[in-house]
């Protein structure tokens, strides 16, 4: 009796698995595709009849809004006065150039007193200000590297470097708030003093 019940159970499980309809494969584009015509709709769409079906007029095409055509006319060239002003040297014997930068520094965590924290933050802010002056005067060397694998950006790295010598910069203002010290440093380039030194790079 027990053997018969076990056999019946296994047979019923086997029948259920065999008669179950196979599940369709996952279609990633199922949402974008139009629903497939079923058997009932196919038979209804093509009935056999003697009279020809009336020809329906083709639907009017949907007119998309056209994007405004941009003007392809070339930009006008600058006039001679603008070009001359741009190519003229910035430092002349009569010019005075004033560079002002604001450096920021944070106090380290290992300070023993607020005074030490302020002093160290101010020193870091001053070094940062000198770096900003170096960027303005000498320029920045930029190096970029992108690693693209299988048409995807894996890593994007940018390195910048500044090498400069700064002279006669003076601190204008110092402020310390919420652990952040800001130092304003200015550098005045007097043309009467520096023109003879820098004039080798351009001609008057």
């Amino acid at each position: 009796m027990k053997v018969m019940t076990k056999g019946l159970i296994s047979l019923s499980i086997l029948a259920a698995t065999v008669t179950a309809a196979p599940k369709p494969l996952m279609n990633p584009f199922a949402e974008t595709m139009a629903p497939a015509p079923t058997a009932s709709t196919q038979t209804q769409a093509a009935p056999v009849s003697a009279a020809p079906a009336p020809v329906q007029a083709a639907p009017a095409p949907v007119m998309m809004e056209e994007a405004p055509v941009e003007s392809y006319a070339p930009t006008p060239l600058p006039d001679a006065a603008t070009v001359k002003a741009y190519t003229q040297p910035k430092i002349t014997k009569q010019s005075v150039t004033r560079l002002v930068v604001k450096g920021q520094g944070v106090a380290p965590s290992f300070t023993q007193s607020p005074a030490q924290a302020f002093a160290l933050a101010k020193r870091a802010a001053m070094v940062d200000a000198y770096r900003l002056l170096g960027e303005k005067i000498q320029g920045v060397e930029v190096e970029g590297q992108d690693l693209i694998k299988n048409m995807m950006v894996k890593r994007s790295q940018v390195r910048t470097q500044v090498n400069a010598m700064i002279k006669e910069a003076s601190i204008v203002e110092t402020s310390f708030k919420d652990g952040l010290c800001e130092v304003e440093v200015e550098l005045i380039i007097t043309g009467s003093k520096w023109h003879s030194t820098l004039s080798h790079s351009f001609s008057e």
């Binding site: 790295q157 500044v162 010598m165």
Partner: protein, 127 residues
Amino acid sequence: MAQYAFTLLLGINFLFADVFIVSYQAQVKDSQILHQSLLASKAMTTPPKNIIKTQTLLLDKTCKKAQFFICYEEKVLDFMFKEGVYIKAQDQTQNLVNQSSFIQLNLPPQYLQVEFNDTFVKMALLK
């Protein structure tokens, strides 16, 4: 004649001054000071005689002569920075996120002549 007299007076003024060799280096990483060192020692070689610039510093703190550079480090550096400092900075950004920012400031060794008086100090850069 007037220039000779002025130079003689200036030389006599600094006749009993001490000459030091001073250098400074500071390293800042991610806006925090990582390391800074001010090295000052008495010159053991013959210093140059050309005076580039001078400055008088009022002594407002009570400290010994041997601790002059410790007490007035900031003012001495402000005076020496005007002559020129070297900056070297490196930044690294990866995937649009800043990874590290390192700045190094170097003040090369320079001769500093210091004349100590009771209430003030005269500093002169030599080259």
